[in-house]
C-alpha cells in the first residue's frame, strides 16, 4: 500500500499568482528512499512542506487536490496531528534548535513533551535517537555550542524521536561543511535500515544516485519524471531542468558504457566498475 499519495495537488502562496505546485500526482511505497531533485525554484521545499502539512496550514494561501500520508488526509488535519506521522528537517540547523532547551538531551525531548508522552517513554525515545544519530557523546552540551553537522543531527534526532513513519529532509546538508555533510549522510544511511520512508531533496546528485530507490524530478511546480536513478539519469533532457547527471553517468555516457541488460547508464561507481569489468 502506498504510504504517501499525492493527487492533483495545486498550491499558491498568499499574495502571489504563480502555482508553485501545479497538478502533481504520485505515490510512494512504504520504506522507499525517494530523492527529490529540480532547480532552486522548482518547488522542492513547497512539496516538502505540503507533505508535512505546513502547506497549507502554516503558510495558508490557495490549495487544491489531496495529499494522504499514512492514510491521513493532510488538508483535514492539523499539523500537530500530522507531525507524529511525518517528520521534517530542513537546511538551517541553527533555526531548527528550539532555543528553549539547555542541553541536547532536553532538546530532543521538546516534541515528545508537547505531545504529552509519558516520561519513561520519552527517556527511551531520546536514548534510541541519540544512538541512531550517533550523538550520545554530546547529549549534555548546549545545542548552540555544536558544529553545524552535529546540530543537524540533533535536529534529525528530535524529529526521529517522535517515531514518524515518513521522514522528509529538505536539503539537510546544503549549509554544512564537507565533514558535516559526511556525518549527516552517514546517519541517513542508518535510518534507511530502520525501514522508515524517506524523501530527501538534495543538490548533491552523486550521493542521491547511490542511496535512493527512486528519484522524483520536478520543474516549475510540475512533476517531470519519477523513476529509478538509472532510468532518470539516463534521460537526455536533464539539462533542460537544470540538472546535471552524476559524474559516473556522464563519464559512462561519453565512454558509451551501458548496462547490457537494460541499456541504461551506470549511476554509481560500483555499477560502473561492474560494467567495466564485464568489458575487460
Amino acid at each position: 500500500m502506498a504510504i504517501i499519495k499525492v493527487e492533483n495537488v495545486k498550491y499558491k502562496y498568499p499574495d502571489t499568482d504563480k502555482l508553485v505546485l501545479n497538478d502533481m500526482t504520485f505515490d510512494v511505497e512504504q520504506g522507499e528512499f525517494i530523492g527529490l531533485i529540480g532547480k532552486n525554484t522548482a518547488g522542492k521545499s513547497t512539496l516538502c512542506f505540503a507533505l508535512a502539512g505546513l502547506v497549507p496550514h502554516f503558510f495558508k494561501g490557495a490549495y487544491g487536490g489531496k495529499v494522504l500520508v499514512n492514510g491521513l488526509e493532510v488538508r483535514q488535519h492539523e499539523i500537530g496531528e500530522i507531525s507524529p506521522h511525518v517528520g521534517l528537517v530542513f537546511e538551517n540547523p541553527f533555526s531548527q534548535m528550539t532555543g528553549s532547551k539547555y542541553t541536547v538531551y532536553e532538546e530532543i525531548a521538546f516534541g515528545l513533551e508537547n505531545m504529552g508522552i509519558d516520561r519513561e517513554i520519552i527517556v527511551n525515545r531520546i536514548e534510541e535517537s541519540l544512538e541512531l544519530l550517533d550523538i550520545t557523546e554530546i547529549k549534555d552540551k548546549n545545542p548552540f555550542d555544536l558544529s553545524g553537522g552535529q546540530m543537524q543531527r540533533v535536529a534529525i534526532a528530535s524529529v526521529i524521536a517522535l517515531k514518524p513513519s515518513i521522514l522528509i529532509l529538505d536539503e539537510p546538508t546544503s549549509q554544512l561543511d564537507p565533514q558535516g555533510t559526511e556525518e549527516v549522510f552517514k546517519v541517513i544511511e542508518n535510518l534507511t535500515k530502520e525501514g522508515i520512508t524517506i524523501i530527501m531533496a538534495e543538490h548533491k546528485i552523486d550521493k542521491m544516485a547511490g542511496y535512493t530507490d527512486r528519484i522524483l524530478l520536478i520543474h516549475e511546480g510540475k512533476l517531470i519524471d519519477f523513476d529509478t536513478p538509472a532510468k532518470l539519469f539516463s534521460r537526455e533532457d536533464l539539462q533542460d531542468y537544470g540538472i546535471i547527471a552524476p559524474a559516473v553517468t556522464r563519464i559512462s555516457q561519453s565512454l558509451g558504457i551501458q548496462n547490457k541488460e537494460n541499456g541504461l547508464y551506470p549511476v554509481t561507481l560500483k555499477e560502473l566498475s561492474r560494467e567495466m569489468g564485464d568489458k575487460r
Binding site: 495545486k10 498550491y11 499558491k12 502562496y13 498568499p14 499574495d15 502571489t16 497549507p56 496550514h57 502554516f58 503558510f59 495558508k60 494561501g61 490557495a62 490549495y63 487544491g64 487536490g65 532555543g99
Partner: protein, 200 residues
C-alpha cells in the same frame, strides 16, 4: 489581503516565535543606541515592529515579557514598567491596523500617541513606586523644576515622563516604520495569523 480580526486569540506559532525575536531586537536597539551615544533609549523597536507585523496582542505580549525578562536578568526595577511596554505594543498594533502606517507623517502621529500613552501610564507607576520620578536625569530635573514652582506632583511627574518618553517613542516608531517598509512582503504574511485557505 483578507482582513481578519486583530483580536484573534488563537495566536499562530510564527507570531509566538516572533516575541523572543522582538525582545532581542529591543535589547539590540538599546545597545546600539548606547554604542552610538544617542540621547535616546530606542529600546522598544522590537515591540513596535512585532505590533506592526503581528498585531496588538503579540505587540503587547512582547512588551510585557520584555520587561519581565529584563527584570529577572538585569534590572528588577524595569518589571514595574511592564504595563507601559504592553500598552506601547497595544497602541501601535491598533493604530497600524487602523491604517496609520501609510507614510512617515502618520508614523510620527503613532509615535506621538505612543509617547503620550506611555507617559500617562508611567505617571501613576512613578508616583506610587518612587514618588513621581523616573531616574532619568533630564526628566527628574524637569520634575524638580515643576515641583519647586508649586505644580502638583502628578503633573510634575507626568511632565517628567513626557519629556523622556515622547521624543524617544517618536524616534522609535519612525525607525521601526522604515525597517518595516524595508522587509520583503512575503515575510509579513505568516505573522498575520489566520488568513483563510482558498480552495483551488
Amino acid at each position: 489581503m483578507s482582513k481578519t480580526s486583530i483580536w484573534t486569540f488563537k495566536l499562530s506559532t510564527a507570531a509566538i516565535a516572533l516575541i523572543p525575536a522582538a525582545i532581542g531586537i529591543n535589547y539590540l536597539g538599546k545597545l546600539f543606541a548606547g554604542l552610538l551615544k544617542l540621547p535616546l533609549w530606542l529600546d522598544s523597536i522590537g515591540t513596535v515592529l512585532a505590533s506592526m507585523l503581528a498585531g496588538p496582542i503579540i505587540g503587547a505580549l512582547s512588551g510585557i515579557i520584555n520587561n519581565i525578562i529584563y527584570g529577572i536578568t538585569v534590572d528588577p526595577i524595569s518589571t514595574v514598567y511592564a504595563v507601559t511596554s504592553g500598552a506601547i505594543g497595544l497602541v501601535v498594533g491598533i493604530m497600524a491596523y487602523k491604517g496609520w502606517l501609510k507614510n512617515v507623517k502618520t508614523a510620527i502621529v503613532i509615535g506621538l500617541v505612543v509617547g503620550i500613552v506611555a507617559a500617562i501610564i508611567s505617571t501613576p507607576l512613578n508616583i506610587t513606586f518612587w514618588g513621581g520620578q523616573t531616574g532619568n536625569i533630564w526628566g527628574d530635573a524637569f520634575y524638580a523644576f515643576l515641583v519647586s514652582h508649586n505644580f502638583p506632583v502628578w503633573l510634575a511627574s507626568f511632565g517628567d515622563s513626557f519629556v523622556v518618553d515622547v521624543p524617544d517613542k517618536i524616534a522609535t516608531v519612525i525607525i521601526s516604520y522604515f525597517i518595516f517598509r524595508g522587509l520583503p512582503n512575503n515575510f509579513n504574511t505568516i505573522f498575520r495569523g489566520s488568513d483563510k485557505i482558498e480552495e483551488l
